[in-house]
Each structure stands twice: as C-alpha cells, then as structure tokens.
Amino acid sequence: MRVEAIILLFLGVFFGIVGIVYWFWSYEDAGTAMLVGTSALGFLPGSYYMFWHRRMGHRVEDRTDASIAEGAGDINSFPGSSIWPFVLGMGAFLTLLSLVFGIWLILPGISLILSAAIGVTAESRRGGHV
C-alpha cells in the first residue's frame, strides 16, 4: 500500500503548492477552489492508505518475492451475474430524462432506482449471486 499512498499524497502536495502559487499570483477564485479540492482528493485517500499500510505492512502484492500460492483463497465476492445494475441504469436514465421530457417520467424512474437498491442489497446478503 505504500506506493499507492505515496502517489496520492504526492498529488495532494503538488496541487497544494500549485494552488497556493496560483492564488497569490492571480487571485482568481474558481481555479484556486478547484486546485485546493484536487489537493484534498489526494490527501484524503492518500492518508487513508498510509494509515492502512502502517497497520498491515506489505501485502503479497506489494512484495517482490511473493509466490502465487501465497495469494490463494477467497479474496472477494464476485457476483456471477446481476440484473440490478441494468435496472438501476434504466432508473437513472428515466429520472434524468424526466427533467427534459416531462416530470411524469420520474415515477417509473424512481421506482426502478428503489427496486434496484432493494434488489442489490438482498443479493449481496445472499452472497452476491442472483
């Protein structure tokens, strides 16, 4: 996790510096706000990863000498297939279109989004498979 954390922290430091330079050179607020936001985007996850690196040490994927066998076993739950992303996508589609073509579309849109939220939660509880 160390390299990952350093990349993100570097991002934070770099945009922090650029943001400061930019502000005191131009006093332009929109760009400064975005640069500072980008700096936070680096610091937040970067320090999170650094925290976990301190606690976990090197994982097998961080060690140059790790063998494939060391990584055997469950690593994650990968659903084989699921209809809910499609339902959620269609719900988002209709909801956004309701802002253009008529607010009535928001009814089917929101109901699709809600059913997808319920469906995907139930699916995860059952172990990630349909």
Binding site: I7, T38, G71, N76, F78, G89, V100
Partner: protein, 609 residues
C-alpha cells in the same frame, strides 16, 4: 509443487509448458456462487447455469463482457461521428455549399465533437480496453466492483442513446459546440430541448466515467496478483491507474458544471449568464454571473480530459512497441514518472484554452503547458529507445503504433507552439488549432486506439484478424490522415476560423479544403476495410492461440478468450514481463542501476571466447 520464490529460480525454470501445471491452481479462486473455493475450471460453470441470450448480456457483470460491450458501442459511436465528419467536409469543399443549412452544420460539428470526445475516445479507452485488459494484466479475476462496472456501462449506453436523441427532438440537436460556452448555451441563445438532452447525456456518461475511474483505481490497488508490485505493472495498467485518478479529478467538475448550466437554463439562476443581480462593492457595480466561470470549470475538466483521452493510448503504444521489438520497454520507471508528471501538469494548464479571453494569468499557464513537453518528450525517447537495437516485426498493431508516433510528433510540436500565448492569439479558433487537436486526437484515439484493437483482438475473440487487410487499413488511414489535416494548418494560418459553414470564395481557401475533404474520404474508406476485416474474421475464423505475438504481459498467459474469472493458474511474477520470462527464461531484462548497466556493457564488450 514448484513454489518459485526467488529470482534465480526464474532464470532456470523448466522448459515452457512444463512444470507450470503444478503451480497452485487455486489462485484466489473467486467465490462467485457462494459455493466456497472451487477448482480452476469452476468459472465456466456459471456460464452454463446462468441466464442465456439477451438476458445473459443484460445481467453480466464479467469485466470482459462489459469491456466488449463498451468497445462495440464506442466504435459504433465512432462510425456515427465519422459520418458526420464527412458531411462537414463535404459542406466545406465549396465556399457557399447548400448541402447543409447553417443550423444543421452547427448541429453536426457539435455532435461530431461530442460523440468523438465523450462517447468514443474516452469510453473506448477506459471503458472498453481498460475494462477488458487491466484485470487480466494484473492477474485479477474481475474488476473490484463488478456490479458498479455493469452500472457504468448502462449509464454510458443510455447516455449515448440520449445524445443521439438530440437529432429527433424539436429544434434539433445541441448546436453550441462540444464546449457549450456560456452564454451561447443559455436558454435565451439556445432554446429547445436539444441542449437539455445534450446536458443529460453528459451527466449520464459523466457518472459512468466516474464509476469506471473508481473501479479502475480500486482494482489496481487491491486485486493485483502476488508479486505484482506497483513497479511491475505493465505500463498500460500504470497509465490506466493515472487515467482513473484524472477522471476522479476532472469529471466531477464537468458534471457539477452541467448541473449549474441546467439550472441556468431552467431554474432562473445566473451562474454563467450576465444579469439577474448587481453586486455593489464600493464604487464598482458588478453584474452577477460570469461566462468566464463556465470556461474555467469546463476546461478544468477539459484539459485533464485531453490526457484522459491520451494516456490510455500512450499505454497501448507502450505495450505494442516492446512486443514487436522483442525487447523490454526502454526506461520503464522513467515512463511511469513521465505519465504521472503529464497527469499532474495537465491539471494545472486548463486556462491555455482561454488565453484569448484576456482574463487569465498568461505566464503561469503558458509555462506549465510548455513544461508538459518534457515528460512527453521522455516518453518519445523511451519509445524510440525501445525500438533501438530491437528486431522489429511490422504487424498491423506495430504499424499503427508507428503511425501514432509520427502523428503525435506533429500534433505535439504544434501543441508547443500553441502553448505560447502570442502564437495562440494569432491562431486561436482557426483551422490551425483544428488541425493541431485532430492530429493529437486521431494520433492517440485512432492510430494508437486501433493498434490496441488489433493487438488485443486475438485475446478477446481467440481468432486472428487478417494482417494484409489490417495493413491496407493502416496505409490508407495514414495517407488520408496527412492529406486531411496538413492543409488545415495552412488554411488556418491564412485566417480561416473554425466552425464556419461557409467562407468567402475570393481568399483561395477552397483548394485546401477540397484536399482536406479528399483526405477525409480516404480515412472513411480505410475504416470500410476494417469492417471488411471484421466480417472476414467472423465468417472464417483463424484460431489465434493463447499468445500469437509472443507478448510480455500476463494477459497472454491465459487462454484466448480467457475463461470466466480469467486465470486457472499464473506464472511466477518476477518482473514486468511475467509471460515473457516464463517463455524465454534466458532472456531476462538487464537490471536497473548505473552499476548494473555498466557491468552489463562491460560484459558486452568482452570478446566472445
């Protein structure tokens, strides 16, 4: 059980094809069905028991299916946008053409740009190729969040459909250019729902891109195979990681900007339009709402977006060149740091698109823009260094990669010119800029993009594309490319502005435009040949085998196409070329470091006994 734990063992493993079967088969066998650990072939089981037909496609969360869906959709969008480009070129082949009305012309170039940039180049790279290739390259069974990945695709598909809906709605499609500069994109200047449809399409695809970015970063951070350290990842994966981070920086700004634009259009706000209120600060009365703010927000997205469109393609070229030079990539670490430097700098240069507003800090943006030439130059020299002293094999992907080098060289040199504000003043919004960014984007998204397509096609479908047809595609595209865009530089310097549907006939611009139109049709013809090639490969499959190119990276170790969850077993990962190390145990790369390099050169100079 050969449990390889040490570099020395890699140097002398058994002959290729033997010994490996004894490696632990249980590499992180995914517990997809909740049945507990399975054997290496369990992946196929899901396919047989799962849904079939269209339902299988609708419900698939396999990164390979999603990646291919992305690729097919984006290539369809590419063909649509290409046809629009042909209409644009036909219109411009005579000064006062009546082929299109001014309104239709504005719609066409807006949609051409929107489709190419938002719906082809980006999704083709980070949704299509990256989705398919990155998990394979790092030895992962899938993306980190498969269902989020599927949602990304559905948002992208519905976004694309929404974008195309624009042509069907009253008042026609959006016609304010792909940058939607306020206040032209306001409700007063661009009434009609074409603009709203355009905004919603980009909100949908924007979220799709953000989700893909999250997924890519999480996959690369968490799902690498043991031994696949960050500095052993293939450059393509590195570039996709950096692209993922750039997406997370840039796309939220676009999406929030679009929502503000929508509020301006419908809810009476004046964020990007002048008017509505007056701020009185001392003696100065300032009107609320700033068109400049839209440009700042848009280009804070837009310039990283240019590199979101470029870095994946740099990655493809960095995969293809070493394989067909039969050498490791030259300056691997330099390549990684150059990628990061490009990404970091690209986020600090947005206002070089706004030099002529007269309201930006010129030296700051011009210096950072010029500075991008340095890491890009490092990449160039590394690509050349990769070919240097190699054994170059000119397959179709290799030709496309070399075509990319030449195209991007021209686009890069003119880019340095445009990074200088006075030169930008002279050429801004003329065909010089049009030629510049087409050379950059066609160089990356088309030359390098289709290099990747030809390169990974055997892996995706288990069959080869015809190399002769592929070379015809390349050469016609290459000729058409230069014929199309070189005259545009000249006519741009003569003062022809972009986005005009007609131009004065007494200025001698027509001949350049006619040549450019001819070039566009040569390009179109070359893509007809690609369709023919795909058709031929579909009708008469030529099996590809697992590793037709004798390639370096992990994805060529598994079958073509890979099984569900990708790997039944993996080779030991001891460098950034695990498959090559396994197949060529006596040709490992010379290690890094001044001392090691000096020792290596000394060895080379020793007379052969």
């Amino acid at each position: 059980m050969t449990d390889v734990t040490d570099v020395t063992d890699v140097l002398a493993p058994p002959a290729p094809g033997t010994g490996l079967d004894e490696l632990p088969d249980l590499h992180r066998s995914p517990d997809a069905a909740g049945h507990g650990p399975q054997d290496g072939h369990a992946g196929h089981g899901h396919d047989e028991h799962g849904p079939t037909g269209i339902l299988k496609w609708l419900t698939s969360t396999d990164h390979k299916v999603i990646g291919m869906s992305y690729m097919i959709t984006s290539i369809v969008m590419f063909y649509f946008a290409g046809i629009m480009a042909l209409f644009i070129r036909l219109q411009l082949s005579s000064p006062h053409s009546s082929l299109l009305t001014f309104g239709q012309y504005n719609e066409l170039f807006t949609m051409h740009g929107s489709l190419m940039l938002y719906l082809f180049a980006g999704p083709f790279a980070f949704g299509g190729l990256a989705n398919y290739v990155v998990p394979l390259q790092i030895g992962a069974p899938d993306m980190a969040f498969p269902r989020l990945n599927a949602l990304s695709y559905w948002l992208y598909l519905t976004g694309s459909i929404t974008m195309m809906m624009g042509f069907g709605v009253a008042g026609g499609a959006a016609s304010f250019g792909w940058v939607a500069y306020a206040p032209l994109s306001s409700a007063t200047s661009s009434p009609g729902i074409g603009g709203d449809v355009w905004i919603m399409a980009l909100v949908l695809t924007g979220f799709s891109a953000i989700f893909t970015g999250v997924n890519l970063v999480a996959t690369i951070f968490y799902l690498r195979a043991p031994g696949m350290t960050m500095f052993r990842m293939p450059i393509f994966t590195w570039n996709m990681l950096v692209t993922g981070i750039l997406i997370l920086i840039a796309f939220p700004v676009l999406t929030s900007g679009l929502i503000m634009l929508f509020c301006d259009r419908h809810f009476g706000t004046h964020i990007f339009t002048v008017g509505g209120c007056h701020l009185v600060t001392g003696a100065v009365t300032q009107t609320c709402g700033s068109p400049l703010l839209w440009q700042n927000l848009f280009w804070f997205f837009g310039h990283p977006e240019v590199y979101i469109l470029a870095l994946p393609f740099f990655g493809i070229v960095t995969e293809v060149l070493p394989v067909f030079s039969r050498k490791p990539v030259f300056g691997y670490k330099g390549m990684v740091f150059a990628t990061m430097a490009i990404a970091a700098l690209s986020t600090g240069v947005w206002a070089h698109h706004m030099f002529t507003t007269g309201a930006v800090l010129l030296p700051f943006f011009s210096f950072l823009s010029l500075l991008i030439a340095v890491p890009t130059g490092i990449k160039f020299f590394n690509w050349i260094g990769t070919m240097w002293h190699g054994q170059l094999i000119f397959t179709t992907p290799m030709l496309f990669s070399i075509g990319f080098l030449l195209a991007f060289l021209m686009g890069g040199v003119t880019g340095i010119m445009l990074a200088s504000p006075p030169i930008d003043f002279a050429t801004h919004d003329t065909y010089f800029v049009v030629a510049h960014f087409h050379q950059v984007l066609v160089g990356t998204a088309v030359f390098a993009g289709f290099a990747g397509f030809y390169y990974w096609y055997p892996k995706m479908f288990g069959r080869l594309l015809n190399d002769t047809l592929g070379k015809w595609h390349f050469w016609l595209l290459f000729v058409g490319f230069w014929v199309t865009f070189m005259p545009q530089y000249v006519v741009g310097l003569k003062g022809m502005p972009r986005r005009v549907a007609s131009y004065p006939s007494n200025l001698g611009w027509q001949s350049y435009n006619v040549v450019s139109t001819i070039g566009a049709f040569i390009i179109a013809f070359s893509f007809g040949i690609m369709l023919w090639n795909l058709w031929a490969a579909w009708r008469k499959p030529v099996p590809a085998g697992d590793n037709p190119w004798d390639a370096h990276t992990l994805e060529w170790f598994t079958t073509s196409p890979p099984p569900h969850h990708n790997y039944t077993h993996l080779p030991p990962i001891r460098s950034e070329r695990p498959t090559w190390d396994y197949n060529h145990p006596d040709s490992v790369a010379v290690p890094h470091g001044l001392a090691a390099e000096a020792a290596h050169r000394a060895r080379q100079k020793e007379p052969v006994a």
